[in-house]
Symmetry: C2
Subunit: 188 residues, 2 copies
DNA sequence: CTGCGACTAGACTGACCAGTCTAGTTCCCC
DNA sequence: GGGGAACTAGACTGGTCAGTCTAGTCGCAG
């Protein structure tokens, strides 16, 4: 029973925090979980601990695979696949809601926030850098990785965060255009 | 008297909202302004209106000038000056605090948020696109402008938002490196 | 059948807060 | 000197919320 209820609470808390931020009430979370408020406190010491648990779960959902490649065209294809997938996670409704929920609470949870960054965007940069080092022989792969990630989710994330509708360009087309610009900047 | 007090309230509200988000209490803002709570309500119908006024003021502080240029090296220098200045505003303590304050409240003020984007980052993209069209003859200047803005404040903004310390590289050096990468991608 | 641990509904405390109201002050304009 | 607009301190209402407490239910292990 115990773990089952814990899961229910965690799921309800996730959707509640995503929808209304840290301001969501514990009463509301308990109601959504179909559980008594006391049960919430049986599994989590207080609201902050519950939030940390939710935040940890949420952060993990951003990670994207990045497969190796042989010739030059395969590198491009791999990067495009990566780009499309990463944008799907980072710019999708859930990614944006996650961002909106976590960002304002960072001052309250500085250490946790740092870890979360390291396990998500930071980890992504590391993997991408490794890939670029092997395939493109980039002189500063970490820098290159950061630039590609920035182009994939810089202004476009801002637009979504500020409720601005994205342009008419298709997702794949935009990802491809960005990867090609990136590759052009990395020609020998 | 009237305007003087209005200003005091606005300034106090700005620093309060920046420090604690929309959750700041009106009592607190009035106290910081050295003013009775009633006076706040004499100038702003309610807390939401006060927040909108503050948000409008805050947003305007991001805009950066972009001066014209003649030969190729001057273009580079102009872009570097722009890059350094833009990063100073977008990534400085106040820029980050502004971001943290506004982002979670967007759902509450969708229309205002859209306008704010249009007047700041959006306007910036337009000006930059105009500049790139004239100086670099870029085929899609709006896209190029978005990519430069993304590289200037993509991953680096994320790092600051998540309390991750930025690397040891100096601000000017990083801005220069980004501009050079951008220019390399736009060679004919 | 006994005792225990997880659960339930719901009441309760203490705190905080937006917004209103009262009663009185200060200052300026007519 | 009279009137009005902006101001003051502070009390008050009605609401929300985190976290605790009570009293009781349910199922299971010994």
């Amino acid at each position: 029973m115990s773990m089952l209820h814990r899961e229910r609470v965690l799921r309800a808390a996730t959707s509640s925090f995503l929808a209304r931020g840290y301001g969501s009430s514990v009463d509301d979370i308990a109601r959504r979980a179909g559980v008594a408020k006391q049960t919430v406190y049986q599994h989590f010491a207080n609201k902050e601990e519950l939030f940390k648990a939710v935040a940890g779960d949420l952060a993990k959902r951003v990670l994207v695979k990045l497969e190796g490649a042989g010739n030059e065209n395969e590198v491009r294809q791999s990067l495009i696949r990566f780009a499309v997938e990463y944008r799907k996670r980072a710019l999708g409704a859930q990614g944006i809601a996650t961002f909106r929920t976590l960002v304002p609470e960072v001052p309250r949870f500085r250490a946790v926030a740092r870890d979360m960054y390291a396990n998500t965007a930071g980890e992504m940069v590391r993997r991408l850098a490794e890939f670029l080092k092997e395939t493109l022989d980039a002189p500063d792969p970490a820098f290159s990785a950061e630039m590609l990630m920035s182009m994939l989710a810089g202004v476009d994330r801002m637009k979504r965060l500020f409720a601005v509708l994205p342009g008419p360009e298709g997702e794949t087309a935009r990802a491809t255009r960005i990867v090609d610009l990136f590759l052009k900047a990395h020609q020998p």
